[in-house]
Symmetry: none
Subunit: 410 residues, 2 copies
């Protein structure tokens, strides 16, 4: 079975935003073995949309259109589809009710312009959007399937995953599948990982390994193509085992795992309660840990202690240490970790102090110098790190290291 | 003048990588006033490339193809172009020399498979690649211009900027320029903004206004196309003035401004010192404010007070209030704001308490309910908000509101 994607949006043609939707849909289609030969991006223009759909239905069985479902006059997808398929627009009571509920939650009535979104082409199946106001639709044209989805990724992605993928899988039983598995690591540079798995990176289809470096993280993706999921999964398992043996504890998770999630799992499992004192990371570590649902089970307290006064008055860091070693030092990081641990009655305390830049450099202490301490549960560790990059990049890398220390030492 | 982009690469169709090339080229073309109506992505397949080029030359004056220039058998662009244009492949001595130099630097001879890259279609102009091994080419087909560029962004981008843009500008005497300006707002929904500027959204070229909703933010982008920058800027200024009059204080910035940056500017200018007590946002507000360089001037302290014990013991929230109104209440938000303000000796205190979900719901208090208080400098404000979305989305929307309150009340 063949599919293609049409992305709508003048902002895509102007290069104002990246087309993450095309990537997401492509990836998901590959996972279920659907062939994709074309992605087309056009502006918010009815005649070009019609032309693109007409071409697409000749080549493919399913056409997936993202964007153009919003409430504004720019949003032309539904009207264009109704014109093309001849299914005239009629008020859909269920969609109207969803719209009313959506706005009621905000204490508002449905704005007049949003009412437009309740009119759907006759005969189209409606796909509810539980996040935004624009429902998706599934309809037919020239015997082929047309699927229209909202443009905002946070609305499109869950709809695609929860509604469209099962629909497509059921509709077309695939003849071969691609299975992929991503192994996520931190603590080693791309070149160090490359060296350890170089032979695997050279593998040719049907089983391949790709390496993708991100900030503070390197991912390895194994892809296998086979007639059935079991065979593909077996091929992946074989390679995965090799990678696990070579990268060991640098692996923090798989696929959609996050480093904060892995750290959270360990803390939850071991019933360890944590408190964090952050200086240069400014609350980022606390923020990432509290992104995980259920974080109140292990996260007691965070303090962002920017000034020396806060460090001494609240966290009990000694003035002597700040004077002798400087606020950015091993000693202060350790005293911060201990201070917050006692203050919050926590099992483990983390202290982070450093220079995120671009200002704040002192003699012998360059931008990117960060000390991270972890104390409690019999541990008393401090690391000196030197990061490169922008202020936000330095903050992020420091937060990666802190979460990794937490994962490995809890 | 019209251009279109064809991106080649099976990894794009599999969703393994994001198509940053299409975005980059689109953005650069917009800067020099070239119209772009189509981006097409196809795999490494000669017949689909030929089909796509044939369609493109009917619609556009210039076709920009990225990818497929490498040394492997998958790389089909040069051969396909030579077949299509009838310019047979001949060895280019200059390209060969570049290849030899490239590999010599690495202490290697030119690998046999890379020798292929020295064969260029007769009649094509060669564009040297000083970073990788694959040169680009410019050729003609059916009177239209075909430009082929290497796929790796770090090779493509400098070639496009340094060689292709001057070429296009010269070829089509940059008679037009496009200037754009983005107006960033928060606090109003997309449909509310749409209502206020509907007439402007209907404007047709040369001056247009687009509306883009993000989480907790709605942007309006004005674009003007004219013969010279001055005229285009004047056209933008006229529209911008109207938008400013209608949206007033909901506008927090322009172009690359951020909400945290706008709040930071006001705090810095007024020499106001801030402390924040966060519960459901988990440090996100502190993190966003400390992303701004120089934040130590106005940011004294943040506390992430997740448990009731921390709220009462450290922030001095009364047990009575928690018992009577619940931890998620107006009263507790206000007491948190006052508590952190006194603790840090700050001018302004912010207190945030809410339910980020998906767990933590109590009777009458749904996921997404958030109270944000701001006290100090003669202010004593508390807002009740109801957000929708995932845990992270609720955290983010709450942080937007907190930063907006800070911006408007400092």
């Amino acid at each position: 079975m063949k599919a293609e994607i049409i992305s709508l949006g003048t902002e895509l043609l102007l290069g104002s935003i990246l087309n993450t939707n095309a990537r997401f849909v492509s990836q998901k289609l590959a996972e279920i073995g659907v062939d994709l030969y074309y992605q087309t991006t056009i502006g918010d223009n009815p005649s070009r949309l019609i032309e693109s759909i007409k071409k697409a239905v000749v080549r493919s069985d399913v056409v997936i259109i993202t964007g153009g479902l919003g409430p504004t006059v720019d949003d032309i997808t539904i009207e264009t589809i109704s014109r093309l398929t001849g299914g005239r627009l009629i008020l859909d009571e269920k969609v109207l009710k969803d719209l009313e509920d959506y706005f009621r939650l905000k204490g508002l009535k449905v704005p007049r312009e949003s009412l437009r979104q309740a009119y759907m082409p006759k005969g189209a199946a409606i796909i509810r959007n539980t996040i935004g106001t624009a429902p998706g639709i599934i309809t037919e044209y020239k015997g082929k399937i047309i699927i229209c989805l909202p443009g905002p990724p946070r609305e499109m992605e869950p709809i695609f995953e929860n509604k469209i993928m099962p629909y497509i899988k059921k509709k077309f039983k695939g003849t071969w599948v691609i299975v992929s598995r991503t192994i996520k690591t931190t603590g080693l540079a791309e070149s160090q990982i490359d060296k350890k798995v170089r032979d695997l990176l050279k593998l040719r289809p049907p089983t391949t390994v790709g390496i993708y470096a991100k900030l503070g993280e390197v991912d390895l993706t194994i892809m296998a193509k086979d007639e059935n999921v079991k065979k593909a999964a077996d091929a992946i398992e074989k390679i995965e085992k090799k990678i696990r043996q070579r990268l060991k504890r640098h692996i923090f998770g798989y696929d959609y795992d996050t480093l904060e999630g892995s750290a959270a799992n360990i803390l939850t499992k071991k019933k360890i309660r944590l408190a964090i004192a952050e200086s240069c990371t400014g609350g980022l570590v606390a923020n990432r840990l509290t992104d995980i649902s259920g974080s109140s089970r292990y996260f007691l307290m965070g303090i962002v202690a920017y000034s020396n006064d806060i460090k001494t008055n609240i966290l009990g860091v000694s003035k002597e240490s700040i004077k002798r070693y400087g606020a950015v030092s091993e000693n202060v990081a350790l005293e911060m970790a201990n201070g917050i641990r006692f203050l919050a009655c926590a099992d483990i305390g983390i202290g982070i102090t450093g220079i995120a830049g671009p200002t704040g450099v002192t003699k012998g202490k360059p931008v990117g110098l960060v000390y991270i301490a972890l104390t409690g549960c019999g541990k008393n560790i401090v690391k000196e790190l030197r990061f490169k990059g922008s202020r936000q990049e330095i903050k992020f890398q420091a937060s990666q290291t802190a979460l990794d220390m937490l994962r490995l030492n809890s």
